[in-house]
């Protein structure tokens, strides 16, 4: 009975026109032909330059370069595969803290750009416009050069509590910290490159995040704010209890794309020598000459990270979205 009902509901299938089939067949042949032509050229070029192809180098050859920092310990004798792994971990090691700080900065600036005091509103919006319109690379390079030029050498490192700050990085107080005549060494060091990249990404993503927060809060119907005023909530209470919780719900999809773009923007580490995945793959490319393979590795790492992020944020979105009944 039910099956019959379903069958009746379906509209009759449209006949596929012959031209559409021909067009698609032509496109398919053209695409396959293009790929074949590129592969053929690659073969010719590789033979001419006496270069090998394939992913075997990832597992068999030792990388021969060192990665000074990161969650995945890595030495010169380890394979390229381990180097890529350490690079991918370093991408997250810089992107996740930057996102955390950027979210805090974005919330602050977003709320400030809706302040009733016009002075604060104008300052916040001006700051956001300033950061958003200057290329991130310029900001990364400027912050990095500031840190390397203005911070003292390792011998004269600044001391706060148990940590030491110099142009070689920030030595954290836990673990082994040792003072030598040539400066201080420690087990937990945040490099200058890491600090510069996190600072620049925080500012840049924070400026974009503030726009997302502002748009989210402004999307809440005006009556909500007026109703909270009528209930004698203060402006701050209205923001915290009524406007922000409703506004952030709308902000989840644009926030997800901000997360993805911040993770991708961490690839600018290559410009200042922070060993994230693009930087590690670039070094491997220069050493082995396997450019095609290294680009595929980068693309796969980002594909995995993007899919994971999108999956997690879809779960978050499903939990906070308004349940339509």
């Amino acid at each position: 009975m039910k099956e019959q009902h379903e069958a009746m509901d379906k509209p009759p299938r449209k006949p596929v026109p012959v031209t559409a089939l021909l067009l698609q067949a032509a496109l398919l042949i053209a695409l396959v032909g293009l790929l074949g032509w590129l592969a053929h050229n690659a073969q010719l070029n590789l033979r001419e330059r006496n270069m090998a192809a394939g992913f075997d180098f990832l597992f068999h050859d030792s990388a021969g370069f060192a990665i000074g920092e990161g969650w995945v310990p890595f030495g010169e004798d380890d394979t390229y595969f381990q180097a890529m792994l350490a690079g991918a971990a370093n991408t997250l090691r810089v992107a996740l803290p930057a996102l955390l700080f950027a979210t805090m900065l974005g919330l602050t600036l977003g709320v400030a750009s809706l302040a009733q005091n016009p002075l604060i509103r104008t300052l916040a919006r001006g700051l956001v416009d300033l950061v958003r319109n200057i290329p991130l690379l310029v900001q990364v390079l400027l912050i990095y050069i500031m840190m390397t030029e203005w911070l003292p050498d390792a011998e004269n490192a600044l001391r706060f509590g148990g940590s030491y700050l110099s142009n070689g990085g920030l030595i954290l107080p836990w673990g082994e910290v040792e003072e030598t005549p040539f400066g201080v060494t420690g087990t937990h060091v945040l490099s200058t490159e890491w600090m510069a990249l996190v600072t620049a990404l925080t500012l840049y993503a924070g400026a974009f995040c503030s726009e997302i927060v502002r748009a989210g809060i402004q999307s809440v119907p005006r009556g909500q704010g007026e109703a909270s005023h009528a209930l004698s909530l203060t402006r701050w209470q209205a923001l915290r209890l009524v406007l922000i919780p409703q506004g952030l719900r709308v902000a989840i999809p644009p926030y997800t794309s901000l997360m993805l773009s911040t993770i991708k923007n961490s690839s600018l580490g290559v410009a200042i020598g922070y060993p994230e995945i693009v930087s590690v793959a670039n070094t491997s490319m220069n050493q082995t000459g396997r450019a095609i393979e290294c680009i595929i590795v980068i693309a796969s790492v980002y594909l995995i990270i993007n899919l994971l992020t999108a999956f997690i944020m879809a779960q978050v979105n499903r939990r906070v979205a308004i349940k339509e009944r």
Partner: protein, 356 residues
């Protein structure tokens, strides 16, 4: 006759600001503290940038002064603005840049909208490249690896924008096509490019593309990088246009069909114009994005404005005065970006629906 009551005069912005800034004790306190901090910052910036600053081109004077060293910018201005372009030939990039800016400025005027404006920009681009490259009419040829600075930034940005628009429209339409293979191909391309950072696409252009092309084709690095910028920009712009196309109700296409317009006519006369109006704000921010993204070519050894700035600062004599140089370059990007924002707002107002 009873006197007519006129509505109260709305307070001027100065009155409104003053009232809002001193609305309550707490607000007044914040205002005073912020104004005080602002005054300190402005005063310090004035001391550094104007009062104590030196303008002579002499690093010894700069070392003894506590203010800004504008001489560093004056000394390096040619490298920062024109890169390594041969001395004595500097008029060529400057003239080309002037032509390009003039043509873009004219094409932005409503009276030149459409094909005429487009052609002007394309002709200016061709002339610009011809001027930079030389080799005709008595101009000495200049290799593309010597091109640089602000002209190159503008050349690459305008090229990427102009060429990515038609590609993006095609990709957006393809992604919404009823033909599965067309749809898969376009979606695959868009998502692949959007999934990786721009620097990966540039590395692809710099290191992989030469391997994939026949050995006899010696594609110039500048051409490869420009094409990569186009390919990258098109994928993002396609999503902008797809959003615009999705917002056009189905009835519009059906009405066009009922009026016996062909599919092509419906697209050109009904759908695309409406989608274009809706996409003005996101397209504006995309174009600013292209301008900013162009700076990444500095990583693959092409000396655009950012790359030239980096190159100028390798000189140890002037390196300590990097802040001055960065301020100038940031100001250039800021002026260019904010003019695009302003122009986008003008377009938005001109094509707003509720304008009567």
């Amino acid at each position: 006759m009873a006197e007519m009551l006129s509505p109260p005069i709305p307070p001027s912005w100065r009155e409104r600001w003053f009232k809002a800034m001193f609305a309550s004790t707490g607000t007044s306190l914040t205002t005073v503290v912020v104004l005080g901090l602002l005054a300190v910052v402005v005063y310090k910036a004035f001391l550094w940038g104007v009062w104590d600053a030196t303008t002579v081109i002499d690093s010894e004077t700069c070392r003894q002064s506590s203010g800004a060293c504008w001489g560093a910018v004056a000394y390096n201005h040619r490298i920062i603005l024109l890169g390594r372009y041969p001395i004595g030939e500097g008029w060529r990039p400057v003239l080309g840049m002037g032509l390009l800016l003039a043509s873009v400025g004219l094409a932005a005027l409503p009276r030149f909208f459409g094909a005429r404006g487009m052609w002007m920009v394309v002709i200016a681009l061709v002339l610009f490249v011809a001027l930079l490259a030389g080799g005709w009419g008595g101009l000495t040829p200049v290799d593309s690896d010597l091109w640089g600075g602000l002209p190159l930034t503008l050349l690459l940005s305008v090229f990427a924008v102009i060429t990515s628009v038609p590609l993006a429209i095609a990709l957006a339409l393809g992604r919404r096509s009823e033909l599965p293979i067309v749809r898969w191909a376009c979606t695959g391309y868009i998502e692949l490019i959007r999934g990786v950072p721009l620097i990966t696409v540039l590395f692809f252009g710099a290191f992989v593309l030469p391997l994939l092309l026949p050995p006899s084709w010696r594609a110039d690095p500048m051409i490869r990088v420009a094409l990569c910028l186009t390919a990258f920009s098109a994928a993002y712009l396609a999503e902008v246009y797809r959003g615009g196309l999705q917002a056009i109700t189905k009835g519009q296409g059906e009405a066009a069909h009922a009026l016996s317009l062909s599919r092509w006519q419906a697209l050109k006369l009904i759908i695309l114009p409406q989608a274009a109006r809706l996409t003005i704000p996101p397209a504006t921010s995309h174009f600013i994005g292209v301008l900013k993204d162009t700076s990444l070519v500095a990583i693959v050894n092409i000396y655009d404005l950012t790359g030239s700035l980096k190159m100028a600062l390798t000189n140890p004599e002037w390196r300590p005065y990097f802040v001055e140089a960065y301020l100038v370059v940031s100001a250039i990007y800021l002026i260019l970006g904010l003019s695009i924002v302003g122009y986008g707002r003008f377009l938005e107002q001109r094509y707003a629906l509720d304008k009567r």
